[in-house]
Structure formats: structure tokens, C-alpha cells
């Protein structure tokens, strides 16, 4: 019989409140940094007496404001192990090309994870001027750097990146080869989005060859099928 209000199990009760985390100490409270203007935030970054916490929050706030005047101050933090992410938090959303210049300049100064962070930000911003440096890094002795460079190149996209990735996939192995294959798939999608269908299909075809990493090979085949069966494909 239909019923308006059904018999049910006991409603899920609110869980017992978890013990509240301790109160942040005064030196780790954001307070007025959240509402500071760009000049004051840059002041925090350039003041040698500023604490890490203050700098971290200033970077994040600058990222929201997108202040290009902060680029030099943010750039100095890229080499700081604790602050690198925060510096990129500030730099990544700044539309001004000076942010690209700063990230590109850092490529030759950093190593390891700090370098990888910068490469990742360059890839996110799709800075084509960084492509020559990234291409060299495809063969870096640090495999993590090589993989990051591949992904950045894939994100940047274009025929030049496509050719570099195609070249790298036969020269690399293991996890780096997987990353190059993944980057190539992204690059193919970029090419398709930019109307370079023939190049994208060529890239998919090369990734479909025997010997390619299995998951990328299947993805490339799917890419071909998706594209060839698309109702919007050229006929």
C-alpha cells in the first residue's frame, strides 16, 4: 500500500563531535593578511624579518589578486624548499608575461623537486617559450625532471612539441616513457582542439604501435576511434 511517510531505519544521527583541533598560535593566524592590498603583501615578501607563515599567506593572497608587481618578490622564494609551492601559488594566476619570464629563468637555477614544481607551473601556463629548455630536460638524468618536462611539453602542445615527444618516446624507457606517452596523448588533444587533426591522428597512430606502454596504446586507439567516428569529423 502506498505510504506517504515510510517506516524506516533510525535516521543517521549526527556523529559525536570530534575533539576540536587546538587553536592556532597567534604567529600562525592569517588575520589581516587576508585583506591586505598588493603593496603590503609585497612588503611582507621583501621584509627579511617576515616569518614563513606570513610569506606563505602573502603568496596565496597575491595569487588571488594577480599582482604583476609581486613577480620579483615571488621569484626569490622559488628556491626555498618550504615556500616554492606558495611562490607558485602566487605566480601561476598572474596573467602578465613577467610571471612566465620568472618561471623560465628559474629553470636553470633549480634542481630536484623545486625544479619540478617550476616545470609543472610552466606546463600549466602553457609557456611555449620554455619549450627548448623543456625539450633538453626530456633527457635529464633525474627521471622525475624528465617526466615533468614531458608533461609540460604535452600541455604546451603544438607541432613542435609533438615532434619532440615522438622523438623522446623511442629514446626513453620505463616510467619516463610512460610519461612521454601520457604527454603525447595530451598533446594530441591540444592539436585536435586547435584544428590540427591530421597531426593529432598521426600522433595517435604512433602511440598505437606495438611496444608502446599498454595503457597509452589503448588510449591512443580509443582516440582514433573517437575521432574517426565523430559526427563532426571532416568528410
Amino acid at each position: 500500500m502506498p505510504q506517504a511517510t515510510q517506516t524506516t531505519p533510525t535516521p543517521q544521527a549526527a556523529p559525536a563531535p570530534k575533539p576540536k583541533p587546538p587553536e592556532p598560535p597567534p604567529e600562525f593566524q592569517e588575520r589581516d593578511i587576508a585583506t591586505m592590498d598588493a603593496a603590503a603583501l609585497i612588503g611582507i615578501l621583501t621584509d627579511r624579518s617576515s616569518a614563513e607563515f606570513q610569506k606563505a599567506k602573502a603568496c596565496q593572497r597575491i595569487g588571488e589578486l594577480g599582482t604583476s608587481e609581486a613577480v620579483p618578490a615571488l621569484s626569490t622564494l622559488l628556491s626555498n624548499e618550504h615556500m616554492n609551492t606558495y611562490a607558485r601559488y602566487g605566480l601561476e594566476p598572474i596573467a602578465d608575461p613577467s610571471a612566465d619570464d620568472a618561471l623560465r629563468a628559474a629553470l636553470s637555477k633549480l634542481k630536484g623537486n623545486l625544479l619540478i614544481g617550476v616545470i609543472n607551473s610552466i606546463g600549466k601556463r602553457r609557456d611555449a617559450k620554455a619549450a627548448p629548455s623543456l625539450t633538453k630536460m626530456l633527457y635529464d638524468s633525474d627521471g622525475d625532471v624528465a617526466r615533468a618536462a614531458a608533461m609540460a611539453l604535452g600541455n604546451i602542445g603544438g607541432v613542435s612539441a609533438m615532434q619532440e615527444l615522438q622523438s623522446a618516446i623511442v629514446k626513453t624507457k620505463g616510467m619516463t616513457r610512460m610519461a612521454v606517452a601520457d604527454a603525447s596523448l595530451v598533446c594530441a588533444e591540444r592539436l585536435l582542439a586547435e584544428g590540427q587533426r591530421a597531426q593529432a591522428l598521426e600522433l595517435y597512430a604512433s602511440l598505437s604501435a606495438p611496444g608502446m606502454p599498454k595503457s597509452a596504446r589503448l588510449a591512443a586507439m580509443q582516440g582514433i576511434i573517437r575521432e574517426e567516428t565523430s559526427t563532426s569529423r571532416p568528410r
Partner: protein, 425 residues
């Protein structure tokens, strides 16, 4: 003669397996037909998922990866006890687990900051994924997630199990049948602000002495989140409500209830175009959103059980002829004209088992399950947009096609977050 091996080598089209062979919770399943799972970051919620998964005879769980030694051992103990052996392998490096060719799928139930990067890495390794919600920390992560699973043609089931809950399904059915009339407003209870304020803290807790790396690898625990000093309260579950680890209070339940609204209204492929925040960070609040069609979406703090006591994670559908509302209490409240159309439904606590079964079926059939990466990405983008509007304290207009706010540059800069090196999406 063409051999089976040759066919498999060249096959790229989805392989359809009759559902007849699926869904068997008891009885023998040949080992070759079992879907082999690994798990990453299984804690309290993940343990619930895992216990549910272990009840399916067509699934086999073989490996756990965690940065916490005690968690690894707890999961191994649970699994080994269930299977009566000691086969569950433990890892502290996700790449080692994902490199195992025998593993078909992974259960990801880490903290939120890890969800998208790990799911994408799993897809790159050819694995299917069940991932707890919230699935992303930002709009950018949401899009990257959907892109990766489309690119690799992998199955992804977000932990939005209510999509497979009988009472929620009935509400959707009532809307689709026309019983509610023309849809006017969707209501998503995004949870009590006392538990999850819409604006999380950007503060840090005091530094404590780091435990030995073999007990807790703080670097990997932080993962893609920006560095901060260690404090044990984060690791004990206190990471929620800190901005660097959390996508804001709206996303906490909104990843369920906004997701339900989008699903029920068959709006899984889009988002509202307006977001207007109302209220404060300490009291009940709302974000009023509107789709291009004129349908409204109200994301509101309606208390833990909802004002109609329909239970946690409630949602409500209102049309010009009637309304329905339900939540985890399973009970459905509705307008008088809808009452004759109600029927008993399965208890809401069975939703997770149905959701897991949906995943297992999808892995076999290669058809996406109900909470696919694409659907989850869109509903998460709605929550992120509402969170950004709340942070900005102003009405924002959103273009779902261009993926940008049309009236606020700062809001656009909040669509992504920098990930700590070496992680990326």
C-alpha cells in the same frame, strides 16, 4: 586462424559481458573472473568502503598502500582475516602498487588533497577507480580528472553512493515522470556550518616534533598540499576545515547533495550560471544558484538531519505541481498529491553496496557507472563555484562552456591551486 589472444590484442571496443554473470554476492566465482583491487589510504571511511567491497565474491582485494604504518597493518589484518590467508601486500609507495599488472582497480580513500592526483595516476597506469568524495580540491582538478578518465577510457566511480540509493532514485523517478510538474527549484543540504563552515581556516597549527618516517611519512602525507609544519591533529582527522587540505564546507556534503540534484534533474553535463552567497561563516547560510534554463539550485545549511528530519545529506526537488524531499533517514516527505505515488524503498544504508555493485558491473561492461568522473567533475565544479562566490562575498556569473566567471577576475584566479612539487594534475 585467428586466436583468442590475437583478438584480445587488437580489441579496443568495449567488451560487453552479460549482467547475468554479475552481481553474485555468494557462490564461486572463477579466479580469472575476479576483479582484483588494491587500496590507497584506507582509513575510517575507506574501511567502510572496503568492508562493503569484500562482501562481493567477484572482487578480490590484494594490496594496501598507505603512508601510515598502523593503517597499512590494520587494512592487511582486515583483509587477511576475511580471506583466511596472509596474502594482502603492504606498500608505502603508490607507484609500486599501481605497477602490479594483476591489479585491475583501486579504491582511493585518502584525504581530499590526494584524490585527484592519485586517481589520474591510476588511470595512467590503466586502472579503474573507486574514489571517495570530495573528488577534487579545485575546478581545475575536476576538469583534469574528467579529462584523464575520458582519455584513458577507464571506469571511475565517485563515492557518491546516494545515486544508487532507493529513496533518492524514487525522487528522481518522480521528477522524470512529470509528477512534480515543471522543475523549478533544487535544494541541496550542504551540511551544518557548525561542522563545516563555508570558509575554512587558512591558519596553521603549532609545530610539533615529527614522528619517525617509518611511522608517518609527513612529506607524503602532505602530498600535493603546500608545506606546513607537522601537527598530529591534522593526521588524526583534524585536517578538515583547513583550506590547504579542504575544498570548503559547501563541498563536504555538496559533493553528495549538489551531485544528487544534478543527477536527478539530468543536469550532469553542466552547471548553474549564477551564484549568490547569503549569510555568514558562523550561522546558517545559502548560496542561491540558477541554471541557464531558469531552474534554481539552493545550496543551504539545513542542519544535520534537515528541517523536515529526512536525515543527513538531504535533497529536495520542487516542481510547479509538487515536491519531494529525502535524505539518509530513507523517509520521503512530499506534497499531498505525490503521496499516492510513494512506495517503500531500500534503506539508505544499502546504497553503498548497490553503488559498489554498480562499479563492479561497469568494470566488466566498460560502461560508465552512475557517479562517473565526468558527472562528479561537473557537480564538484558547482560546489567550487559556490565556494568561490562565498569567498568573494558577491554574486558571480559563470559560463559553463568557457569555464570562467564573466564578472570577477579574482574569482577566475581561484579556479586552480598550485600543487606541491613534484605533484601535478
Amino acid at each position: 586462424m585467428t586466436t583468442r589472444r590475437q583478438i584480445l590484442k587488437t580489441a579496443v571496443a568495449p567488451m560487453i559481458v552479460p549482467s547475468l554473470v554479475l552481481g553474485q554476492r555468494a557462490g564461486a566465482v572463477p579466479p580469472s573472473d575476479k576483479i582484483v583491487f588494491g587500496g590507497i589510504g584506507i582509513g575510517a571511511r575507506g574501511g567502510h568502503d572496503l568492508r562493503t567491497l569484500l562482501n562481493f565474491s567477484q572482487a578480490k582485494f590484494v594490496a594496501i598502500c598507505d603512508v601510515r604504518n598502523e593503517r597499512r597493518e590494520e587494512v592487511k589484518s582486515m583483509v587477511d582475516q576475511k580471506y583466511g590467508n596472509s596474502d594482502c601486500q603492504m606498500y608505502d609507495d603508490q607507484y609500486a602498487l599501481l605497477a602490479r599488472p594483476d591489479i585491475d582497480a583501486v579504491l582511493i580513500a585518502t584525504g581530499d588533497r590526494w584524490h585527484t592526483p592519485l586517481a589520474i595516476i591510476a588511470a595512467q597506469h590503466g586502472k579503474d577507480v573507486y574514489c571517495e568524495k570530495p573528488c577534487s580540491m579545485s575546478m581545475e582538478e575536476s576538469w583534469a580528472l574528467a579529462d584523464a578518465f575520458r582519455r584513458y577510457n577507464r571506469i571511475y566511480q565517485a563515492g557518491c553512493q546516494r545515486r544508487n540509493g532507493g529513496n533518492f532514485e524514487l525522487c528522481k523517478e518522480l521528477l522524470k515522470s512529470g509528477a512534480l510538474g515543471k522543475l523549478e527549484t533544487l535544494y541541496a543540504n550542504v551540511g551544518p556550518s557548525v561542522n563545516w563552515p563555508p570558509l575554512p581556516s587558512r591558519d596553521w597549527l603549532a609545530a610539533e616534533e615529527l614522528p619517525p618516517r617509518q611511522v608517518l611519512d609527513w612529506d607524503r602525507w602532505l602530498g600535493p598540499a603546500p608545506w606546513r609544519p607537522y601537527n598530529s591533529a591534522y593526521v588524526r582527522g583534524g585536517w578538515r576545515n583547513f583550506y590547504d587540505f579542504h575544498g570548503g564546507g559547501i563541498l563536504e556534503w555538496g559533493s553528495h547533495t549538489v551531485d544528487l540534484c544534478q543527477w536527478a534533474a539530468e543536469l550532469d553535463d553542466t552547471q548553474p550560471v549564477e551564484y549568490e552567497p547569503v549569510g555568514t561563516n558562523t550561522g546558517p547560510y545559502q548560496v542561491l544558484a540558477k541554471y541557464a534554463s531558469g531552474v534554481k539550485l539552493v545550496m543551504r545549511d539545513d542542519g544535520w538531519e534537515g528541517s523536515l528530519k529526512t536525515g543527513s545529506c538531504s535533497f529536495r526537488l520542487e516542481g510547479d505541481k509538487g515536491w519531494v524531499e529525502t535524505g539518509d533517514a530513507t523517509r520521503i516527505e512530499c506534497s499531498d498529491n505525490i503521496k499516492p505515488l510513494l512506495r517503500p524503498t531500500a534503506p539508505a544504508n544499502l546504497a553503498l553496496a548497490s553503488h559498489m555493485e554498480d562499479l563492479l558491473r561497469s568494470i566488466k561492461t566498460r560502461q560508465q557507472p552512475r557517479a562517473s568522473a565526468s558527472a562528479a567533475a561537473n557537480s564538484h565544479v558547482v560546489c567550487h563555484a559556490a565556494f568561490i562566490a562565498y569567498q568573494r562575498g558577491k554574486k558571480l556569473t559563470w559560463d559553463p562552456t568557457k569555464r570562467e566567471f564573466s564578472n570577477d577576475d579574482i574569482a577566475n584566479r581561484m579556479r586552480s591551486r598550485a600543487l606541491r612539487e613534484p605533484w601535478r594534475v
